[in-house]
């Protein structure tokens, strides 16, 4: 009798946990519709393992480089671990986590986020929290994720001990039940791939006409915290024998001040790193700002991203010695599929716009 | 005992104080009644009941209350 009641208790507990898990899956945003950016981080795991190059950074990487083009032109296997408004500490922990899945030859980091020294230095709390979720929710449970959470939380999140809600997102999305849509049920178990190896394709065109302006700053020195994480990146890559390449994507806004550029040039020199400011080589890349951007110069569209990939792939081959894998049949087979998906997507998006 | 019963009866004519054993537990007497009884006893018997004796067990029946008064008079 006693045995039986314990058995019932355990079975009930198991059922409850399963139901909670299901509920959590249902309530989490799926990011399949208008805010696809939130799905990017989670897509990495399906494509991890054999990439020679990993890009890490904010929208200036996931909107500007097309890994498929680099494969087609140079046989480079690459993937982007980008997310909206990714902070430098988040980039660091993503890098750390990446090494658990693969050891690429080259890590490429976009340095724009050096300008944000602390979680407080950008956006208001609600917005920052939403960005945090988009970068962190997609990560699998790991030390890196936990540390990234602790480094990223806003004041409000700290106040209610929001770190636990990254372990159990149900605690964060508990009140989303009143906002569920068909999308939440449709993608409950299986999500679509929204990106091509981390690249989020845009086919629209909105020409760049007027210069985006920002007022001058009082102090152009990057913050201590930013440098702290950049130092950690250098060390991390060194310990894995991976070459760290710093880039500044050719986006025209937010403004990339000369004073900032100078600091990066000096930093790269001091640590013997390759630093490429792609803003300076726009003409060589061949970007036509009347056609190659979808939001008036902030990000490139697919036509710009292909041009940039073609240009940057050459640098990876020439300066970093990244290998051509087109001769490898197994790799080629995998990538052939990716290429097909890419063109199907491009065709579909072009038809829509 | 007679005087005591008279005091109680004045307060609650409807109760049979000779048999009722749960005056407090059954919420027949409330704190206002208790204080009134203490004041009456003070004037009739010239016995002051200190606050520490204002416990349910001393007020649950007329008998218990009488015992308390006796004890205090003895001291």
């Amino acid at each position: 009798m006693k045995k039986k009641s314990i058995l019932i208790l355990c079975a009930s507990l198991a059922v409850c946990i399963a139901l909670l898990w299901l509920l959590q899956a249902l309530l989490m945003p799926k990011y399949m519709g208008s805010v696809k950016e939130g799905a990017l981080i989670g897509e990495y795991y399906d494509n991890a393992g054999n990439n020679d190059v990993v890009f890490i950074g904010d929208c200036e990487v996931y909107e500007n480089f097309s890994p498929i083009t680099m494969w087609e032109e140079y046989g480079i296997t690459s993937i982007i671990r980008g997310s909206a408004q990714q902070m430098i500490w988040q980039s660091y922990y993503l890098m750390e986590e990446t090494f658990q899945y693969e050891t690429p030859k080259v890590m490429v980091f976009n340095v724009l986020s050096m300008k944000y020294d602390t979680p407080q230095s950008t956006g208001d709390q609600t917005q920052r929290e939403a960005y945090n979720r988009m970068t962190l929710d997609g990560m699998r449970w790991s030390d890196s994720k936990w540390n990234s959470v602790l480094a990223s939380m806003t004041e409000e999140e700290k106040e209610w001990q929001g770190q636990w809600s990254y372990l159990f997102p149900l605690l964060r999305y508990h009140d989303r039940w009143s906002q569920l849509t068909a999308e939440d049920f449709q993608y409950l178990f299986k999500k679509d791939q929204v990106s091509d190896n981390g690249y989020l394709m845009q086919t629209g065109v909105k020409p760049y006409e007027d210069e985006h302006v920002q007022p001058p700053l009082v102090d152009y020195t990057f913050g201590e915290n930013s440098y702290y994480y950049l130092d950690k990146m250098v060390e991390l890559c060194k310990s894995h024998g991976t070459q760290l390449v710093l880039i500044k994507a050719p986006s025209l806004y937010p403004v990339w001040w000369d004073e900032w550029d100078q600091q990066m040039v000096e930093y790269a020199e001091k640590h013997d790193l390759l630093y490429v400011n792609l803003l300076e080589t726009q003409e060589e890349i061949g970007i036509d700002w009347s056609k190659d951007t979808y939001d008036a110069g902030l990000h490139l569209n697919v036509y710009g991203a292909e041009k940039l990939a073609s240009y940057f792939g050459r640098i990876l081959v020439d300066e970093c010695g990244v290998a051509d894998h087109r001769g490898d049949d197994t790799v080629s087979a995998v990538w052939a599929e990716k290429v097909a998906t890419y063109y199907a997507r491009k065709e579909k998006l072009e038809a829509q716009s | 005992m007679e005087t005591l019963l008279q005091i109680l009866q004045d307060l609650h004519p409807e109760v049979d104080f000779e048999t009722e054993e749960h005056l407090i537990d059954n919420k027949i007497l409330n704190s206002f009644d208790i204080v009134t009884i203490v004041a009456e006893i003070d004037s009739e018997f010239d016995v002051a009941i200190p606050a520490e004796h204002l416990l349910p067990k001393n007020f649950n029946s007329a008998k218990a209350l009488y015992a308390l008064v006796q004890k205090l008079m003895d001291e």
Partner: protein
Amino acid sequence: MQITSFRFLLFVAAVLAAYYLIPKKGQWMLLLAVSYCFYLWAGIEYLGFILLTTVSTYAATMAMAANQDKQAKFLEENKETLTREDRKASKVKLKKTNRVYLVGCLVLNFSVLAVCKALLIEPFQTAAAAGTLSFLSIGLPLGISFYMFQSMGYVVDVYRQTTPAERNPFKLALFVSFFPQLIQGPISRFGQIAPTLYAPKKFDGKQLSFGLQRMLWGYFKKLVIADRIAAAVIALRGPEHTGVAFFLLTVFYAVQIYGDFTGGIDITIGLAQTLGIELPENFIRPYFSKNIAEYWRRWHISLGEWMKDYIFYPVSVSKPLLQLSKTARKKWRSFGQRLPVYVASVATWFVTGIWHGLTPNFVLWGMLNCFFIVLSEECVGLYERFHNRFHLKEKKWYGGFEILRMFILMNLIRIVDLFPNVSDYFSRIGSLFTTFNFHILWDGTMLKLGLTELDYIILACGIVLMFVISLIQEKKGSIRALLLQQKPVLRYALIFALLVIVLLMGSYGVGYNASAFIYNAF
């Protein structure tokens, strides 16, 4: 550490695990250690306050106990030779010497409490904010009103020899600081909790499960009901809300404070139960009361009992008052008889009022309660005649009417909590009779109070659920015992459903400002 925080839940889980794993002899010591951890979490600067109360309580009670022992021994040794007068004199002497310790301890503690509370009043707070009196900005030490009253009750009990003194200072320290009740009571008596507080406890699945169920129900009341309606209570305090809106405020506040306070107590008592410790009940479905005296026997019981035993009785049977009563009786018999009751009531309600806060509105609150209690006591005869004349007691609806009447009256009295400026309160009360703005109920005003339609639906369902549960408790007793009679699967399903409701509909996390328990502030 907020009782509704994840940190608190983790803390509780860790305490529970350790509690049942360590040797049973050490259980109460573990509780003492974690209680101090809990207290330190609130701020190390508050440690002095609880230590002061603990040490002074221990010193006073031990001194009294020593004298009592000495006296008992003296009586025992000289049993034959002592006359009755001698024995009486020895008793009087004991009381006299011990009274010094009693009064010293009470004065010391209550002056600390008074100073702490006084610092919360406007002029001091303004000065603190301006930085001119920076030491004032520390705020009220966690649970000071609760642990201090509990300790002082114990000191009086030892003085009266109704409770033996606890000779182990660490055990006493646990009595003062036991963490579940640090936050908002109940104000337990030493005799009530000592038997289970220190006893070694075997793991008892049923106790644990009952305790957890009660905590869950507490979280439901707090997170789903009280914290949700809080926004509207804040909004309705605005000066533009008069008449019907003010009436609505009193009802909303009744719901909020009920969910908040009884929910919090459910969490406290449930938590203690998981530890095998029995705390006294603090509420017995107070909103079902039919008169104000009954209400105060069912709402915040531990405070009411404390006030009765340590203020009301001592004042009413004090020598001068009895003397006064005697004198008055010669002139007006029945008035003289009731005089001690009136004076003691005023004293009790004055103290109860300022216990809540040293502002005029709380004094007014106490006096209003006092007035209506005395009034209803005095009109008992009148009522009875009225009832008998119309045979009202036999009619079923009349009980409901009495409950509703009581609910509205208490709402109108209770709401004075929210108006530190007493004249605001009276002008709102006045508006009840002059402003009949019923249109606010359907013209969209209700949706501008920070609650959406969905919130109202959840609140309505939640209130119905609380009402039904209370009704079942009133008629059939413990819900958990009833649940236990059901098939396990159904039982688990119901508990799980409640858990899911709390998880999904609780007001916590992003976008909800974690609100502290109302009774933390007292």
